[in-house]
C-alpha cells in the first residue's frame, strides 16, 4: 500500500481524496496555488506545498511543479482527482516515469478515450452502439454538410479533443451548419488546442445515463449500476441520481454487461464511466471518462462501496473487493451540485462565506470544502458543494432533499441552492420525467 499520496487537485474533491487516504492511514501531501493556501484540505493534510500563483495554468495544471512537489516530499503516488490533469495522458506518463504511481488508468487508455473520435471507433469495434454520426472527423464545412445530410438534422458538432460537455454546437438546418462549424472549430482550437471536429445526430429527447465501471490490474471488471444525469445546463450536470427512474432491472443488467464486456475487451483498469444517451429503449455510447467523477457519491450511496478507497487500493495492486454477484445496489440517491453562482443569471459569486450550516440527519451527506470564513477564490470552477441524499426509494429521497435544501445555509455568497429548491418541487422532476433538454427549456420558460 502507498505510504504517501500527493493530491493534485483542490476544492471538494481534494478533501474527498484526503479523507480516503486518512482512513487508510496513508500520509497526505496537499499541493495548492497561493490563492488556496487556506483551503480546508491544505489545513488538514500532513504536508503542503505551494506550487504556483493563482492561475490554474501556473499551478494545478503545472506538471513540473506537481512532479517536483511529489519528489521533494517523497510521495509514492499521485491522485489527480477530476478535471485539471486527471485526463492528461502526458501527465500520467511523466508521473509513472518518475517511479510514482498514477492513481488512474494507463496513459494509453487516457489518450484513447480522450480522443472522442478514436474512443467511439474503439467502442464500435467492441460491439457497442454509438450515436449515429460522421464516424470520424470532418475536415471542413463541406464535408460537414455532406455528413449531416446523411445523419439528418438537427446535428451536434463536437470537438474530438473535447469532452465534459464543452465546445459543442447545434446546427438545426443546412443553412446554419456553416457558421456553427466555424465557430466550433475556433472554440475547439482555443479550448483544447485541437480543432478536429466530428458530427453526431442531435437526439430529440434522450436521457444521459452513465455506467460506473471498476477494473483492477488483474483483469477483474465490475459495474456499479447507472447514474441518470439528464438535468444539465449548457451540458453541465446540475443534479444526478442513482438508479435512473427510466430504467428497469433488465435494462440495467443489459447495459451493465455491455459496458463491462467492452472494458474487458479494451483491457482498461481503474475507475471509469461510460456515458450513453438513452432514447426509446436504446443506448448510444457518447464518451468515456477515465477518472473519478464528480457524482460518484450517489453510486457510493446505493452500493455501499468507498470508490476512492477502492481506486487507491487497485492502483496499489490489490484486486477488486467485490465480484459482480456480490454487488448490491439498494435504495436511491440524489446529488445536487451547488455552485457559487447567482441562481437565476448563473453569474459567478466568489467571496467570503459568512454563516455556514450544513444539513445533517439520516441519509444526508455534504461533500464540500467550504467553512465559515472561507474565501471562495474567483480563479477556479464554481462548484462549492455537493449535497447527496439517500433513502429507501426515490420518494423518500425527494422528501429528504427538500428538507436538507431548506436547512442548508451558505451566507455571504450567492449559490444555486434556490434553483435546486425550485427543481425538487417541480412535478416533472418529481415524476422523473425529464430528458437532457428539459432543464434548459424550463430555464428558458422561467425567464
Amino acid at each position: 500500500m502507498f505510504e504517501k499520496v500527493l493530491i493534485a487537485n483542490r476544492g471538494e474533491v481534494a478533501l474527498r481524496i484526503l479523507r480516503a487516504c486518512k482512513e487508510m492511514g496513508i500520509a497526505t501531501v496537499a499541493v495548492h496555488s497561493t490563492a488556496d493556501a487556506d483551503a480546508m484540505h491544505v489545513r488538514l493534510a500532513d504536508e503542503s506545498v505551494c506550487i504556483g500563483p493563482n492561475a490554474a495554468k501556473a499551478s494545478y495544471l503545472n506538471i513540473p511543479a506537481i512532479v517536483s512537489a511529489a519528489t521533494i516530499t517523497n510521495a509514492d503516488a499521485i491522485h489527480p482527482g477530476y478535471g485539471f490533469l486527471s485526463e492528461n495522458a502526458k501527465f500520467a506518463e511523466i508521473v509513472e516515469a518518475h517511479g510514482i504511481a498514477f492513481i488512474g488508468p494507463s496513459a494509453e487508455h487516457i489518450r484513447l478515450m480522450g480522443d472522442k473520435v478514436a474512443a467511439k471507433a474503439a467502442l464500435v469495434k467492441a460491439g457497442v452502439a454509438t450515436v449515429p454520426g460522421s464516424d470520424g472527423p470532418v475536415k471542413d464545412a463541406d464535408e460537414a454538410l455532406a455528413a449531416a445530410s446523411v445523419i439528418g438534422y438537427p446535428v451536434l458538432i463536437k470537438a474530438a479533443g473535447g469532452g465534459g460537455g464543452k465546445g459543442m454546437k447545434v446546427a438545426e438546418s443546412p443553412k446554419s451548419l456553416g457558421a456553427a462549424f466555424h465557430l466550433a472549430r475556433a472554440e475547439a482550437a482555443t479550448a483544447f488546442g485541437n480543432d478536429s471536429l466530428y458530427l453526431e445526430k442531435y437526439l430529440a429527447h434522450p436521457r444521459h445515463i452513465e455506467i460506473q465501471i471498476v477494473a483492477d490490474n488483474h483483469g477483474n471488471v465490475i459495474h456499479l449500476g447507472e447514474r441518470d444525469c439528464s438535468l444539465q445546463r449548457s451540458h453541465q450536470k446540475i443534479l444526478e441520481e442513482a438508479p435512473s427512474p427510466a430504467l428497469n432491472a433488465e435494462q440495467r443488467a443489459r447495459i451493465g454487461k455491455i459496458a463491462t464486456d467492452a472494458i474487458r475487451a479494451i483491457g482498461y483498469r481503474s475507475l471509469g464511466t461510460m456515458e450513453f444517451l438513452y432514447e426509446d429503449g436504446r443506448f448510444y455510447f457518447i464518451e468515456m471518462n477515465t477518472r473519478l467523477q464528480v457524482e460518484h457519491p450517489v453510486t457510493e450511496a446505493i452500493s455501499g462501496l468507498d470508490m476512492v478507497r477502492e481506486q487507491i487500493k487497485m492502483a496499489a495492486g490489490a484486486p477488486l473487493s467485490l465480484t459482480q454477484d456480490q454487488v448490491r445496489l439498494e435504495g436511491h440517491a440524489i446529488e445536487c451540485r451547488i455552485n457559487a453562482e447567482n441562481p437565476e443569471t448563473f453569474a459567478p459569486s466568489p467571496g467570503r462565506v459568512t454563516d455556514y450550516h450544513v444539513p445533517g440527519g439520516l441519509g444526508v451527506r455534504v461533500d464540500s470544502a467550504l467553512y465559515a470564513g472561507y474565501a471562495v477564490p474567483p480563479y477556479y470552477d464554481s462548484l462549492v458543494a455537493k449535497l447527496i441524499v439517500s433513502g429507501n426509494n426515490r420518494n423518500e429521497c425527494l422528501l429528504r432533499l427538500r428538507r436538507a435544501l431548506d436547512e442548508y445555509v451558505i451566507g455571504g455568497i450567492e449559490t444555486t441552492i434556490p434553483l435546486h429548491r425550485r427543481l425538487v418541487s417541480n412535478s416533472d422532476v418529481i415524476n422523473g420525467a425529464y430528458d437532457t433538454h428539459w432543464l434548459e427549456r424550463w430555464l428558458g420558460l422561467e425567464r
Partner: protein, 161 residues
C-alpha cells in the same frame, strides 16, 4: 511549505526595529546557534532558526503599557522578510542548493556584495538545475534556506539589501 504542527503567529507590534532583527538573524547564521534572545529593560526580542516548524520572531511590548488591540499579524520572521523589496522568493518547487556542486564553495556568503543578475543559488526541479540570480545589486543580508532544503513556490530564499 508547511507541516501540520504550525505554531501560532504573534500579534503585530508597531515598533519593529528591522535592522536589529536582521543583525540578530545574521548573528544566528554566523554562529550557527539555534536561537538568540536579547533583552533590554524596554523590550525583548528572540530570533530562532527559520525552519518550517520553528517559532517566528517575537517582539514583546513592555509590561507597563496596555496590550495593543491589533489584528494578528503574519508570522513575523518569514512574512516580514518575504515582503522586503530585496526578498528573493522561489519561482518554483524543488530543492535549493547553495553550491554549484557538492565539492565547490557556495555561490555567496552572508555579507557578500552581489551584482544584479549574479547567480546566488540553484533550485533543482525534476533533475534540471535552475540558476536563481540576484534581482538587484546589493549585499546578502540573509540566507533563508539550508543547502539541500526543499522549497515551494514563493519560499523565501535570500534577502538582498
Amino acid at each position: 511549505m508547511a507541516k501540520r504542527d504550525k505554531t501560532s503567529a504573534s500579534a503585530g507590534a508597531d515598533e519593529i526595529d528591522a535592522a536589529r532583527v536582521r543583525k540578530l538573524a545574521a548573528l544566528l547564521d554566523e554562529t550557527g546557534l539555534g536561537e538568540i534572545e536579547y533583552a533590554t529593560d524596554r523590550w525583548r526580542i528572540r530570533v530562532a532558526r527559520g525552519t518550517p516548524t520553528a517559532e517566528p520572531a517575537r517582539v514583546a511590548r513592555p509590561a507597563a503599557e496596555p496590550a495593543a488591540a491589533s489584528a494578528p499579524g503574519p508570522e513575523a520572521d518569514a512574512a516580514n522578510d518575504a515582503n522586503l523589496p530585496g526578498a528573493v522568493k522561489s519561482p518554483f518547487v524543488g530543492t535549493a542548493y547553495l553550491r554549484p556542486a557538492p565539492d565547490q564553495p557556495p555561490f555567496v556568503k552572508l555579507g557578500d556584495e552581489v551584482k544584479e543578475g549574479q547567480p546566488i543559488l540553484i533550485i533543482e526541479a525534476m533533475k534540471v538545475m535552475n540558476e536563481v540570480v540576484s534581482p538587484r545589486a546589493g549585499k546578502i543580508a540573509r540566507i533563508a534556506v539550508e543547502n539541500g532544503a526543499p522549497v515551494e513556490y514563493g519560499s523565501l530564499l535570500m534577502v538582498i539589501d
